[in-house]
Amino acid sequence: MTCDEARERFEDLLHDRLSPAESQSLRQHLSECPRCLEELDAAGLIATLIRHRVSYHRAPDHLRQSILHEVRRQRTLMGRLRQALHTLWTTPPVLCATTAMLVLALALPLYHMWVGPAPDPAVRVVGEAVRDYDRLLLNYPPHGTNPAEPTQIQQWFQQTLNFSPAIHFWGNQEIRLLRGYPTYLMERRAACLIFKMGDAVSTLYIFPGGDISIPPHDRRQINGYAPYQTTARDQRVLLWRQGELAFLIVSRLTKPELDQLFLRIRNP
């Protein structure tokens, strides 16, 4: 056995994963090679220190609950889908029709995915933000340890975001700031603020969006500004860019109320 072959087996030796023959062969090499023996001793010592003396960070309860909630949501969706499919496939008269519909339903999106253009980043980010908003409403009122104080939120953002979110509006008596926390949108870090006006909850996402081009159509004219407006899953969405940052509001507010919130954020 060479030194390289021996080193390749150190991890397995330290975790008792070698067969008796491999172990014997390695020990034979170690008895003849003081350098490898010293390296293995050091490796064993360091591994023991890390395993037994270094901090182990178990998942906190709030995170576990949040993940379990997400998992249950996924399971419920999948369970319903499976039951519906079972009913369709076990009813003979509709079998042929179901087959044809399934083939079409599967083939068309695949065709669209392979042949059609890649989804627009603006469409993707709107979709992800609205899903995040839906999740937030499912958990409403927000609980946990996310701060509601602007100074605490700013401090958290400074520690966790790799950009400065340039927030100038932190709520007022009419539009109250409920929470703020860092999140992910399109696999990039984003700042999220939750506002409440009347009974309607709105979320503001700010994230690096230099690569996201705002669609030229469907622009809403608000006091000289023209953010992109759309509706997704019954929520109103406004999307615009300020320099390298993209801003996105998801809300149930009426259009005039949403304009008011937009102006507060865009032009405080």
């Binding site: 490796a43 182990y56 960070h57 998942a59 995170l63 520690q159 696999e187």
Partner: protein
């Protein structure tokens, strides 16, 4: 793997995921955010991505990919490290170091080295697992692990020196 099996398995591996995230991220909030993003992405995309890969490896691969993208990491952090040979006599005194000293030493390692050590020592990942997670070749993975250990060795010895601990002088039998 079905979505249900995947979901159940994510819960099983949650502590391991959070531990790695906490060792990578700057604070607990960032660690939680990283775990949530990992789980969300796994639930969305993993059954397709994971053909033939052990689940825990797939989950950590997703986490490492997200962390790298987020922190714009490139390479494994070995290029600017020169490890000197360290004396072996002080190793017997490592047990005198506090948990805080050991934590601080581990935190000083570059992220990739730290993650590789944590995965092997705490979670029992094999060399093959690391090659799949980090995308390194097998020899490269060995070098990374050896360098990580040597670097930590050096950092711990420096810590012992700074707090004034030295090995007892050797006692020789006098005839």
């Amino acid at each position: 793997m079905t979505q249900t099996e995947l979901a159940a398995a994510i819960v099983v591996h949650l502590d391991a995921l959070h531990n790695l995230a906490a060792w990578l991220a700057r604070d607990s909030a960032a660690a939680s955010a990283l775990v949530q993003a990992t789980c969300r992405q796994a639930l969305r995309a993993m059954p397709q991505e994971l053909s033939g890969t052990p689940l825990r490896v797939g989950l950590v691969t997703i986490m490492w990919r997200l962390y790298r993208q987020d922190h714009r990491l490139s390479g494994d952090g070995l290029s600017d490290i020169a490890v000197e040979h360290v004396a072996t006599d002080k190793r017997v005194l490592y047990h005198t170091l506090s948990k805080a000293d050991l934590d601080a030493g581990l935190r000083q390692l570059p992220e990739a080295l730290r993650a590789a050590l944590i995965l092997t020592a705490m979670e029992g990942y094999s060399l093959e697992d690391l090659t799949a997670i980090f995308g390194w070749s097998k020899p490269r993975t060995q070098i990374v692990l050896a360098t990580a250990r040597q670097l930590l060795d050096r950092l711990l010895q420096a810590r012992l020196t700074s707090i004034g601990v030295s090995p007892a002088p050797e006692v020789k039998d006098v005839p």
